[in-house]
Amino acid sequence: MPVDITIIVIDAPPLITLAAARSLDYLLYPDLPVIIPDAVFFDATNAAGKLGAQEILDWYREHIDAVRVEPTEVFATAQLAAQAGRRLRDLGERAALEVIRSYPLAPHERALLLSDDRDIGRVIVIDPDKLILLTTWDYLRQLEEAQRIQSADGVIEAVRAAGRKPRTRDLWGDHDPEIRDAVRRVIETMHRDRPPKP
């Protein structure tokens, strides 16, 4: 029986790193479904002008058939908390955990988890036989080994070259309208797909 594989990007750094190197398409090279928890997507795109933010939004719109931004209860709760002036910590990781837990993997299924946070290892404790944790660097090295890209180092060099002076963090109301629309779409999808609680 063939093994079904999904790539789940469980924190924002892989997206930002690949976007900074204009290499987000590398995520699509294995021809596998790509899932991004909504809070991770928001983390990576929530400030207009931030490194990689616009590239990630454009890339997502171009590949909406292959890339799914997965809605979570955690993110919905955080939106309500934000309206009340509270900011919840570790949102991306908690949303990723929710996504992983809501996808019980069948015996023939595996998930490649892409993360650059070295403290994220505890996530795979949920199902260590089926969850395979990789860093962006590991992933790039596999692409290089398969001769799909010339050099993993070259990608990292491109990221470094993209470094620029950061802007002051914006508040929600100051965000680029396109970003606000993207987040709203995520929330609308969540409400549409999830039945109301009794």
Partner: protein
């Protein structure tokens, strides 16, 4: 005081680049708000992104991923 803060930031960035510090701890200790700013701070101090730690668990993960990815990458479009 400012010099001390900058020294602490550089130490945090060096620890992160050397793989001794996780991303979230590095952001907190370097006093940056998110990963984009962390990448920019690394570039400004001529430091590379970290390579993952060489642990048995990590090597096992890479091996399992290689078994899945390599055939797909070689035969994909």
């Amino acid at each position: 005081m400012r010099i001390l803060t900058e020294q602490r930031q550089i130490e945090a960035l060096r620890d992160y680049a050397a793989g001794r510090l996780g991303t979230r701890n590095a952001m907190e200790q370097a006093g940056v708000e998110d990963y984009a700013e962390l990448v920019i701070a690394l570039a400004q101090h001529d430091l590379n992104l970290p390579e993952p730690p060489d642990t048995p668990e990590h090597r096992a993960n890479v091996e399992r991923a290689r078994a899945i990815l390599q055939p797909r990458l070689r035969h994909a479009r």
